[in-house]
């Protein structure tokens, strides 16, 4: 009896659903896909700011992308697509970039998007009084000039070929001028942009909620509401994915990836990242000044074992100075395979002083199992008779230590990760190894300096021809690979675990994911 009633209800419900679906089908601009009410995403920390110009953490740049949209969009394959920018032209000398804005775009508060807004954004970015931690990424831009209502011009200090990919960063996304007027710098708490989503609720330490921007200029998102739940403990996050309390688990622990993969209702995606993890070696101070010592260190460590046993294959050993995902990557012919005998021999040739204790430092919890990786490196050193003292630091102290000039620096061997924010080798090869970025001016804390290398890198920035530029980057890679300012450890993978019902989730090598147009079974 009861069953019958239920069945009847079901049939009614089903009919209703079909009707609703049909209406939705007719009304929705996205043909064929049912609207998804909400999606819960478990993340580890709360955002400090949602002002894209201030943000340095990839995850929150990701959220900024959803709120503000991007000028350009770089897909996982590295191709650049128009978004808030329609197209651009570059002058012959590469010093003038003319950007054509997309027309008919509104911010979610109704403010108009035009050249004035973009110019204001650039003025804010370039204003040294503003807090823009990633300003170095656009340091080539001298000024922004308005041409007409929908055209602006960027004048550069020096030619910079991958500027188009640079424009895909959240760093250059415009904030609604009306919101800036209303909130001032407090806009970091009240973000308003022209992206597919709008912030509706931000409960500190607990959740960030975005809803679909009804006036979004592009294709309407398929998910109405995105709930970012802040769950600091990774195991708790994984547990919640298993229990279905969240749909997407941001960066589960490498140690649990295999267990999660075994679950039929969970899908684990882990594309190779742009971020390389390395042990920086001070090239201008201490025992690591000697190139042979630096090479010996590279032979002394079994990177494959680290990737396999410590990171559970959520990384792969470096075989060139940059991630395979970026433009300019080339696999190096010579590899520093694990060879403790060769390491000892090189150290002998370099008259290495085994009585001295080397200081090694690592952040704790910043990168995948960073402390453990450092502990293993320490043990490999000890295995060939090198004394090493390891210290962990909290992140702000660690960064302060990295930025000290050569006279003050205490760095000898230090673990660090470096992940280009777009798919080009420039940020890694230029941003880590040129003389110009030696601290305190940059974060090239290995203090590597090589005139020939600097010249090649400068030339690569001017080169507009892709093939020629690639050759230059490859040449530079070869030099630095040979000189070993780093112990080349591994390239991380970006691990994202989610309900297997979710289809078409975009996951990028720059550690971003876009649930905007997913479908659900």
């Amino acid at each position: 009896m009861r069953k019958k009633v239920r069945l009847k209800h079901f049939r009614q419900l089903f009919t209703c659903m079909i009707a609703v679906a049909m209406v939705a089908f007719l009304l929705s601009p996205v043909a064929g896909s049912a609207q998804i009410k909400e999606l819960k995403i478990g993340i580890g920390v709360d955002a400090d700011t949602l002002n894209p110009q201030e943000q340095t953490t990839t995850l929150f740049q990701n959220i900024c992308d959803l709120i503000y949209g991007n000028m350009y969009y770089q897909d996982p394959a590295g191709n650049v697509h128009p978004r808030l920018l329609a197209k651009h032209e570059v002058s012959e000398d590469g010093l003038t970039w003319t950007l054509h804005l997309k027309k008919g775009v509104q911010f979610s508060d109704g403010a108009l998007y035009n050249a004035d807004v973009v110019k204001q954004t650039w003025d804010r970015i370039l204003n040294p009084k503003m807090r823009v931690p990633l300003r170095f990424a656009v340091s080539m831009v001298k000024e922004c000039v308005k041409i007409d209502d929908y055209t602006i011009q960027l004048n550069l200090k020096y030619a910079f070929a991958p500027l188009n990919a640079t424009l895909s960063m959240a760093l250059v996304s415009p904030i609604s001028p009306a919101a800036l007027e209303k909130y001032g710098e407090d806009v970091r708490q009240h973000p308003v942009g022209a992206g597919p989503y709008v912030l509706t609720e931000w409960v500190k330490g607990d959740r960030i909620i975005l809803i679909r921007n009804k006036t979004y200029w592009g294709k309407a998102p398929t998910v109405d509401k995105l709930i970012f739940k802040i769950i600091p403990e990774a195991i708790t996050r994984e547990a919640m994915l298993r229990t279905g309390e969240i749909d997407i688990c941001y960066k589960p622990l490498p140690s649990n990836v295999a267990a999660l993969k075994a679950q039929s209702n969970i899908k684990v995606e882990m594309p190779l990242d742009t971020r390389t993890i390395f042990m920086g070696l001070n090239c201008q101070k201490g025992v690591t000044m000697n190139k042979k010592v630096r090479q010996a260190f590279n032979y002394a460590i079994d990177k494959k074992a680290i990737v396999d046993r410590i990171l559970f294959n959520t990384a792969q050993p470096m075989d060139g100075p940059v991630s395979p995902k970026v433009f300019g990557y080339a696999k190096m012919d010579h590899q520093y395979d694990y060879n403790p005998e060769k390491a000892k021999q090189l150290l002998k040739e370099a008259n290495f002083d085994f009585s001295k204790t080397i200081n090694m430092r690592t952040p704790n919890g910043r990168y995948l199992f960073d402390k453990q990786v450092a502990e293993v490196v320490q043990a490999y050193f000890q295995a060939i008779g090198i004394k090493v003292e390891l210290r962990t630091y909290d992140w702000p102290t660690y960064v302060a230590g990295l930025l000290k000039p050569i006279e003050e620096t205490e760095l000898e061997v230090f673990l660090l990760g470096w992940g280009p924010l777009f798919l080009d080798a420039d940020m890694a090869l230029y941003g880590q190894f040129t003389t110009e970025v030696n601290p305190p001016k940059g974060l090239g804390s290995s203090f590597y300096t090589n005139t020939a290398y600097d010249e090649i890198m400068t030339a690569s920035r001017k080169e507009q021809d892709l093939n020629k530029r690639f050759e230059l980057l490859k040449q530079a890679s070869g030099i630095v690979w040979e000189d070993c300012p780093w112990i080349w450890l591994h390239v991380e993978k970006f691990v994202l675990a989610y309900s297997s019902k979710i289809k078409n989730l975009v996951v990028t090598p720059t550690e971003k994911f876009y649930p905007t147009y997913i479908t659900m079974e």
Binding site: I235, E238, S255, N256, R309, I310, Q378, A379, Q382, L390
Partner: protein, 298 residues
């Protein structure tokens, strides 16, 4: 478990100057207390582990063996290995040194500052007492673990700073405890007599007062060591305790969290080690209290 009634009123046992006989009675009581005996045995094992670690475990507890990482208990590794392939048994044995060092260090800091200040505060009274007590109030206004956390935030991480931070958070407890005891003892006839006969204050404090407040101090020391281990483990768990690769139980448990799903043994054994060490101090502390200081309650 408890053979004797915790709350027997034995006013007779702390009669004037009769310290020796009351303490021997206490010892007899302690020996009859099975719980305390169990605690004492655990503690003995623990201390033997701490001092005998190099004898009990031949290898290097910090030497990784990546091929055997996260191995479950087996013949080669009795308690299995951790994420770097280090013997968990070795790390627990060597970890007992670290935690004993922390326990002794912390209580040492507490005793070193708390007892003299408490004695002075209670004995002299007046303005000195007032100032010291306001200072104690100030420290006691923060829950112990939070005070230790705040101090670590200032001093930075590491074994030494862990000990100092937790130690400071224990000082006010000793001050209060000692002062309270002194206040009751101060009015006793024999103290009055000593004072009347012109004995120096220092002499009175050391000879007459200190021995009479020793019992609660000993009890608090035993319990305090348990607390110290728990606090240090808490700091280690939060990643702001001692530095790697020092095998500290709390940070072992902290890193083991990542492997709890698939390889629970990595977290279980350090967890048991912490639990047993704290338990033994608590059992012994309870026994000591029942035997020597039956009037106090917590």
């Amino acid at each position: 478990m408890n053979d004797i009634d915790i709350n027997t009123k034995n006013n007779d046992s702390d009669s004037v100057g009769d310290i020796d006989s009351s303490s021997s009675r206490g010892w007899a009581k302690l020996k009859r207390n099975k719980a305390a005996l169990v605690g004492g045995i655990f503690l003995l094992i623990y201390i033997v582990c701490a001092f005998g670690a190099p004898v009990l475990f031949w290898g290097n507890p910090s030497a990784p063996d990546l091929i055997n990482s996260l191995s479950p208990p087996c013949a080669k590794y009795l308690l299995g290995t951790d994420e770097l392939g280090r013997s968990i048994l070795g790390r627990i044995l060597y970890g007992s040194r670290v935690s004993l060092m922390i326990a002794v260090g912390v209580v040492g800091v507490g005793l070193l500052f708390g007892v003299p200040v408490g004695l002075i505060s209670g004995y002299f009274g007046g303005k000195t007492d007032f100032i010291i007590q306001r200072f104690t109030d100030m420290l006691l206004a923060f829950p112990g673990f939070l005070l230790a956390l705040a101090l670590v935030a200032i001093l930075g991480v590491g074994l030494k700073n862990t000990v100092i931070s937790i130690g400071i958070s224990m000082i006010p407890i000793y001050i209060r405890l000692v002062r309270g005891c002194v206040l009751t003892v101060r009015e006793e006839v024999y103290v009055e007599a000593a004072r009347a006969s012109g004995t120096k204050d220092r002499h009175i404090i050391l000879r007459h007062i200190l021995p009479n407040v020793l019992a609660p101090i000993i009890v608090q020391t035993s319990l305090g060591m348990g607390t110290a281990i728990l606090f240090a483990a808490g700091l280690g768990f939060l990643g702001i305790g001692v530095q790697p690769p020092t095998p500290e139980w709390g940070s072992m448990l902290g890193s083991a969290r990542a492997y709890m799903m698939g390889k629970p043994h990595v977290a279980t054994f350090p967890g048991i080690a912490i639990f047993l060490a704290v338990l033994s101090f608590n059992l012994l502390g309870d026994g000591l209290r029942d035997a020597f200081d039956p009037r106090s309650k917590i």
